[in-house]
C-alpha cells in the first residue's frame, strides 16, 4: 500500500499526499521523505486564542496565491485530554474559495507538544517535497509557552492585539524572544499604535536584531502586503541554524 501511495505522491496526486500525511501524523513509518527540489518557506503563526491567527492566515493565503505561489497550511487545534476528541475549526476562518495551489490540513494537538501537533516535522517535509512554496503552521494558540514553533519554522510570526496586557507582559521571557516578525492584529481597533510602541521599545531594550513590528488588520486589509513582505524577506531560520551549527562545528 505504501508503495502505491509513494507512486501517487510522485505523480503529484493530492490524495496520496493526504493519505501519507495521515499516516505520518499517527506516527506510522512511511519511509524516508526525499529532500525537496526547492526548499519551501516555513512560517509559524502564533499568538493567544482569539487574536485572529486563522483569519490572518486566510489573508496571507490570498496574498501568496496572488504572487502565483502555492501554500500548504497546518492548522493545529487542541485535543481533549479527557476524551481524545477535537473540534478543528480553523479552516472555516481561512476564507476561500481555494484552488489547487492551496492545501489545508487540520491537526488535533494533545497538550505537552509545545502547541504544535506531533510529527509536524515529517508533515512539513512531505508538503515541501510535494512542491509547496510556502508552508504555514498555525499553533494552538498557547501564546506564551509555544516556543517549539521555532525549531520547525523559518520565520516565526507573533500576533498580538491591542489591549493585550500592560507593558510588563512583554518583559516575560519566551515568545517575544523567538519572534522574527511581530504583527499587531486588529489594528483597526483603538490602542494598536500604543501596543506596537510598547513592543518596539521592549525589543530595542533587548538590543536584539531589528524585529519588524507591523500594524495589520484583516478587516481593512491594512498592512497585509507589508506583513507578507516582512515574512518573505526574513532570513530563513533553518538557514541561520545551519550557519550556527557550522560555527559550532568549527569551534
Amino acid at each position: 500500500m505504501l508503495d502505491a501511495l509513494w507512486d501517487g505522491f510522485r505523480r503529484r496526486d493530492r490524495q496520496a499526499l493526504s493519505r501519507l500525511l495521515t499516516l505520518a501524523a499517527r506516527g506510522e513509518a512511511i519511509g524516508a521523505v526525499r529532500p525537496p527540489a526547492k526548499p519551501g518557506r516555513v512560517v509559524a503563526v502564533t499568538g493567544s486564542p482569539g487574536v485572529g491567527k486563522s483569519t490572518l492566515i486566510g489573508q496571507l493565503i490570498a496574498q501568496v496565491r496572488g504572487q502565483g505561489k502555492s501554500v500548504a497550511v497546518f492548522a493545529c487545534d487542541p485535543q481533549s485530554p479527557v476524551t481524545g476528541g477535537a473540534l478543528l475549526g480553523d479552516r472555516f476562518r481561512m476564507a476561500g474559495p481555494h484552488d489547487d495551489g492551496v492545501f489545508i490540513r487540520s491537526l488535533a494537538t494533545p497538550g505537552g507538544h509545545g502547541a504544535v501537533a506531533a510529527h509536524l516535522d515529517v508533515l512539513i517535509q512531505l508538503v515541501e517535497a510535494f512542491g509547496f512554496d510556502v508552508i504555514i503552521v498555525e499553533t494552538v494558540g498557547a501564546g506564551q509557552g509555544d516556543t517549539a514553533a521555532r525549531e520547525l519554522a523559518d520565520v516565526v510570526v507573533l500576533l498580538l492585539q491591542p489591549e493585550s496586557g500592560d507593558d510588563l507582559q512583554w518583559e516575560k521571557a519566551g515568545i517575544l524572544e523567538v519572534a522574527d516578525v511581530v504583527a499587531i492584529h486588529k489594528a483597526d481597533l483603538p490602542g494598536a499604535e500604543q501596543t506596537a510602541a510598547q513592543v518596539r521599545s521592549m525589543l530595542d531594550m533587548g538590543k536584539q536584531k531589528a524585529t519588524p513590528v507591523l500594524r495589520v488588520s484583516s478587516k481593512t486589509r491594512e498592512g497585509i502586503g507589508e506583513l507578507w513582505e516582512a515574512i518573505a524577506t526574513c532570513e530563513l531560520r533553518r538557514k541561520r541554524m545551519t550557519k550556527a551549527e557550522a560555527r559550532m562545528a568549527k569551534e
Binding site: Q15, S18, Q79, S80, T83, G85, A86, L88, G89, P97
Partner: protein, 141 residues
C-alpha cells in the same frame, strides 16, 4: 478499526459542513460538540460551502466521514452533487451522513443515491455517535 502503533484506536475524522445558502448552524454545532465529546476529530467546515469546497475539504483532510446539514430544502439538488463529486474524486469510501429538515419521502431516495444515513429532527446525539462507531468498526475491521 485502525490502530496506532501503540495499540490505541485512531480517532475517526469527520468533516461537518453546510452546503448552499442556509444560515442555520445551531444543529450542526450541537452535533459537532457531541462527536468531539465521543473522542472523534471533527473538522468543522461551517456555513455556505459549495459542493466543490466540501469535497476538497474531505480530500485534503483525509476524512473517514462527511456530515452534511441542510435545512434549506435544497437537499435533493446539493446532496446528489456532493455524492457525484466524491465519486469523481474517487472518494466513494467516505461515508456520507445527512441531517436537518429532510421530508420522509426523500429519505429512501437519498439512501438509494448512497447516503449512509439520514438523521432528522428528534435524533438523539447518542444515536449518531453509536451509528458512526458501529459502521466504522464494521468497515475497517
Amino acid at each position: 478499526m485502525i490502530l496506532y502503533n501503540d495499540g490505541m484506536a485512531a480517532p475517526l475524522r469527520i468533516v461537518l459542513a453546510k452546503v448552499g445558502l442556509d444560515g442555520h448552524d445551531r444543529g450542526i454545532k450541537v452535533v459537532a460538540r457531541a462527536l468531539r465529546d465521543a473522542g472523534m476529530h471533527v473538522i468543522y467546515a461551517g456555513l455556505w460551502q459549495t459542493p466543490e469546497a466540501v469535497v476538497r475539504t474531505v480530500a485534503d483532510e483525509d476524512a473517514d466521514w462527511l456530515g452534511l446539514s441542510l435545512l434549506s430544502g435544497a437537499h435533493m439538488t446539493l446532496v446528489p452533487r456532493v455524492l457525484e463529486l466524491l465519486r469523481e474524486a474517487k472518494l466513494d469510501g467516505v461515508g456520507v451522513l445527512v441531517g436537518g429538515i429532510i421530508p420522509e419521502t426523500d429519505v429512501p431516495k437519498l439512501s438509494a443515491m448512497g447516503v449512509a444515513k439520514v438523521f432528522g429532527p428528534g435524533t438523539s446525539l447518542d444515536e449518531i455517535v453509536e451509528f458512526l462507531k458501529t459502521r466504522s468498526e464494521a468497515s475497517h475491521a
